[in-house]
Symmetry: C2
Subunit: 323 residues, 2 copies
């Protein structure tokens, strides 16, 4: 079958080049297993632990690949983005590594701990009211004032290829994987995962996990075009965003199935992983395994890779989740 998403931006070399460039700066994250969780899932599960990645999530991979691929004259003017979450930290650290400025637009209600992480990595924070249009306008104003390059958190070819290196590492370690599942927010991680499976596996199938409360990807695949979330009231705060024009085509051709899970599924799976594996993961990071547990029949007996996307969770939030 001819795959339309295979083009000069998304070929095998795009991933190899991305990995070669970012490798000196990132952790090769561990792949963990648990006998108990295998039994619950009815299959052998390999967890790719991006919660142990620099900045606490996979996002540093894409941010770095975007920054390192800027032409020199653009680098000198820095980078700008808007994010309340993991991409804010990722882009500020990536810019720090590259020795350039980063301007991060964050809504005023973003948690202090995330703001201080961004500052600690050297990012310059610009506050705005917490609406998407205010974030976009503020970022655009800074772009015009500073000449900084806007880096989109997921709708960017270099970001997508960077995120794909997580699955690429996993597949190099575990070439016999039959399925791989990643959470779906804006689609950067899962698009990259599709590319990695395309080029570094022998037919490994790619699945997505998504909250019912923000199921734009499921509905977009159903309707054959991008359908935005009307609201996105999910505990999985990394997955509230909508698919983009660059991620949708890859996902719609390359993903076998988007499995939706409830808020309760997410929280119970997060607790399960904390209690059994003794690792800290954020709600978004639990969504892929929640999907495996929910639809075991799709994975039964198939060696399955599960991407744990991140581990950034506020202490304050914990008490409400675990009560």
């Amino acid at each position: 079958m001819n795959k339309n998403y295979i083009n000069e931006n998304f070929n095998k070399n795009s991933l190899i080049r991305a990995y070669d460039q970012i490798k000196p700066y990132i952790h090769k994250t561990p792949v963990l297993t648990s006998g108990q969780l295998n039994r619950m899932a009815g299959t052998e599960v390999l967890f790719k632990c991006e919660n142990f990645q620099k900045t606490g999530s996979f996002k540093i991979r894409g941010a770095l690949n975007a920054v390192l691929n800027l032409p020199e004259e653009k680098k000198q003017k820095g980078v700008v983005t808007h994010s309340s979450g993991n991409f804010a930290q990722a882009l500020s650290l990536a810019a720090n590594y590259a020795g350039i400025n980063s301007y991060i637009v964050m809504p005023e209600n973003a948690p202090e701990v995330k703001k201080s992480a961004v500052k600690c990595y050297g990012g310059k924070i610009y506050g705005c009211i917490p609406t998407l249009s205010a974030r976009e306008q503020t970022a655009e104003r800074i772009r015009q004032e500073t000449g900084a390059e806007f880096i989109h958190p997921y709708n960017d070819n270099n970001v997508i290829c960077g995120q794909g290196t997580a699955a690429m590492e996993l597949l190099k370690d575990q070439p016999e994987l039959e399925c791989i599942i990643a959470p779906v927010g804006g689609g950067g991680l899962i698009s990259g995962t599709v590319l990695a499976a395309e080029y570094f596996s022998a037919g490994c199938e790619v699945f997505g996990g998504e909250p019912f409360e923000a199921d734009d990807a499921h509905r977009s695949l159903e309707y054959g075009k991008i359908i935005r979330n009307k609201k996105a009231d999910t505990v999985a705060d990394g997955l509230r965003t909508n698919l983009g024009s660059r991620t949708f085509p890859v996902i719609s051709e390359g993903v076998k199935n988007i499995i939706r899970v409830t808020e309760n599924d997410i929280i119970e799976t997060m607790k399960l992983i904390w209690e059994r594996m003794k690792i800290v993961i954020e709600p978004s990071g639990a969504v892929a395994f929640a999907a495996v547990l929910k639809h075991g029949e799709l994975f039964n007996g198939k060696k399955t890779g599960v991407i744990i996307s991140g581990g950034n969770i506020d202490s304050a939030k914990l008490s409400s989740i675990f009560q």
Copy 2:
């Protein structure tokens, strides 16, 4: 200096034999590092992560060594202990591996999750009222009724040698460690650590960490005899016990210093490790690193091993700790 604790029970071979026996059943737990935590501690810190050990704590090491060293005729009658915590799970799993019965006396108010873990490992639970004398009497009654061997959670030579294999593994990986620090409850882990440092390092110093609220070890060293806790109202529930007749002599000769930490130190350090290292540890597991942070001057510039003793924490407790 002649060390009185060196005898036929606690020689180099005791540890080597213990490790050879238990190795097939346990995890070789990872040693993790964190650049951020090194900077906070002012030295290079290597975390021996027994929170990833079978049953979620180091206790399985000692329990297994005790069970595997029983003579055949004793094995047939099973083992009995009383514990509300990690040793209950450890002994039931150890007995399970050895194919023998285990009888575990647990106070009625022990958390359901711990009871169900013990049942899951095949242990038979006997409830009692939550006092030490009721626990001891119930265990003694079962011992008489069944003929089972009583295994003490820490005041037992085989248990001590088994616990010592954690530091032994760490020192084999990191022979150039200059300090090693473990939490102190009944003293099984730290006594074993003293033995491991004696036989598998070139003069690595052993420190202990203890809550102010249960500082029997600190006071026992000060007075030169076992001084029991009057109360032990600490969040570090694994460290509420008192030193025993077999652990005190090893500790009093072999431990350089017992550092006491506050309840706030313990909780803040636990949060710090969760947030920075993305691993789940229990309060007792945070005490050793809390001590390093509190008395950095003792460790400054010295390569330091920190034993994270366990990762078993109830979801219910989390919400109160993290609020």
